[in-house]
Amino acid sequence: MKILLAEDEEMMLKAIEFRFQKDGFEVITAKNGKEALEHIKKDPPDLIVTDIMMPFVTGLEIINTVKNELKLDIPIIVLSAVGLEDTVLEAFELGADDFITKPFSPNELIIRIKRLMARR
């Protein structure tokens, strides 16, 4: 299974990337939203994990493009921060499938991914 991971915090990006690889996922990383959209258009992944606040293109814009413009059926998990509850609601309205608040346990993120994929 191929996961696109969009996160601008480098240490977080590496930590999640290596954790996903450890669990057998194929991972494509993007350090900003623009890079993420380019990957999605070129080679759509099976699942997207995206931060909300990123330079150039935000996580909300990724959700909107994937779900409403490209009409792709790709599950999206949002990485949010405490204090961004309104933004998370907006993400759900745009079509996000799940969210997890930083700091989070990588194990919990893996469980959410597996649960989301199992429902499909």
Partner: protein
């Protein structure tokens, strides 16, 4: 003032000792008074009284030596030297006179003269411990550590329990071991998200007459993957009191370490046991590069070393700042110490990621380290630290521990 003091002293001498026929007793009593004055800080009066005694008894060499010593204590080395040469002109084999002259040369930073005159003294008194010790110290000072070790051995053959001699011999033995191999392990545990980090370093260093050179390999294991970095450090001596720090590093896989790193810093010794430096660090995390300006100001005070090192990293529209305050308490040797590090911001030398380096002003840290020289050959080091980092969306605490062992050879 001197003349007035001299008149008072002569008057008091005449009043106190009207029967100058008892010259021997009188001068001895006056010498006792002069010594009391000199040892209690009243050096000018002591010198005046010595001069009175020497007028009464010009060949009283002990008085002239004491007079010279008072000059030396007040850093009037020329006057001290003149008086001691008068003693030696009259009595070339005068043990105490020559011994005092060695002190004058040692204190006035003339180690070559100490060696020359101690050789002269040893010709007359080959087993005199003071001459041997002072000669060994002077040989060490001029960089003749081999000669110093031979002299120190001669001293310890005569008196194996000579404490200062033993300390010097130990120091010289350490100085002769110019190679060092070190193995260090560091462990970092995070409060959230991240799995523990491990790092192992292997260092090989050599002291040369141009300065020290260190080759280092760093192996890091983080996020269940590995990275390796090769580094070369050099501390070339430029002129007396000035030396540089040069560093280059390469990490072929550049997973965590920068692909290239370089550093340069100029260190200058200052008066009052102080030292300062300024320089830079360059980290090339492909495709991002980070340039950090750094420096330090430090001071030795008794057995303590205080140092402050700031880091300034230019960012597109601002600067990122951090700094470390280092306090070390040294014990028997430079390899024995207990250290405390208080930091604001992560040290850029922990170059994990460009992002981490640039945002290092949002962290506080405290760490303790202890280093001990064992059996004059092995250096054992342990350390522990706590760091609290404020990241953009969350806070994280990091507990660190490290252990290291080095062998000198």
């Amino acid at each position: 003032m001197d003349r007035c003091l001299f008149f008072i002293l002569v008057s008091s001498v005449l009043l106190t000792f009207p029967a100058l026929g008892q010259e021997k007793t009188d001068t001895e009593e006056l010498f006792k008074q002069a010594r009391d004055m000199g040892f209690h800080g009243n050096r000018e009066a002591a010198r005046s009284l010595c001069r009175v005694i020497l007028k009464m008894k010009p060949a009283y060499q002990d008085v002239r030596i004491f007079l010279a010593r008072t000059y030396a204590w007040d850093k009037q080395y020329d006057s001290a030297e003149v008086n001691l040469h008068k003693v030696l002109a009259a009595k070339p084999r005068h043990k105490d006179g020559l011994n005092a002259l060695l002190d004058v040369y040692a204190w006035s930073d003339r180690p070559d003269s100490v060696i020359r005159y101690s050789d002269m003294g040893l010709g007359h008194h080959p087993n005199f411990e003071d001459y041997l010790y002072k000669k060994a110290r002077a040989q060490e000072k001029v960089g003749d550590s081999k000669g110093a070790a031979i002299t120190a051995k001669q001293l310890l053959d005569i008196n194996p329990s000579h404490e200062k001699g033993r300390d010097l011999a130990k120091k010289l033995k350490l100085a002769r071991m110019v190679n060092k191999a070190s193995l260090n392990y560091a462990y970092d545990q995070f409060s959230v998200i991240f799995d523990p980090w491990h790092m192992v370093s292997l260092d090989l260093s050599r002291k040369t007459k141009f300065g020290s050179i260190i080759a280092r390999t760093n192996y890091a294991s983080r996020f269940n993957t590995d990275d390796i970095q090769f580094e070369l450090d050099a501390y070339p001596k430029i002129i007396s009191g000035t030396y540089a720090y040069l560093n280059v590093g390469y990490a072929p896989d550049t997973v965590f370490f920068p692909l290239f790193r370089a550093g340069g810093e100029l260190h200058q010794k200052l008066p009052w046991s102080m030292e300062s430096s300024f320089g830079f660090r360059y980290l090339n995390f492909v495709p991002t590069t980070v340039l950090i300006y750094t420096g330090s100001i430090g001071k030795y005070w008794k057995s303590y070393w205080f140092s402050f090192r700031p880091y300034i990293t230019p960012k597109p529209a601002s600067f990122s700042r951090s700094g470390n305050l280092i306090i070390r308490r040294y014990f028997q040797t430079a390899d024995d110490y207990l250290g405390l590090v208080l930091g604001l911001g992560a040290s850029p030398d922990e170059d994990f990621f460009a992002e981490a380096v640039r945002n290092f002003n949002n962290a506080l840290k405290i760490s303790l380290e202890y280093q001990k020289l064992l059996r004059s050959r092995y250096v054992f080091q342990i350390g522990a630290g706590y760091q609290y980092e404020e990241r953009r969306h969350y806070n994280i605490a990091r507990m660190s521990a490290k252990v290291g062992i080095s062998t000198l050879f």
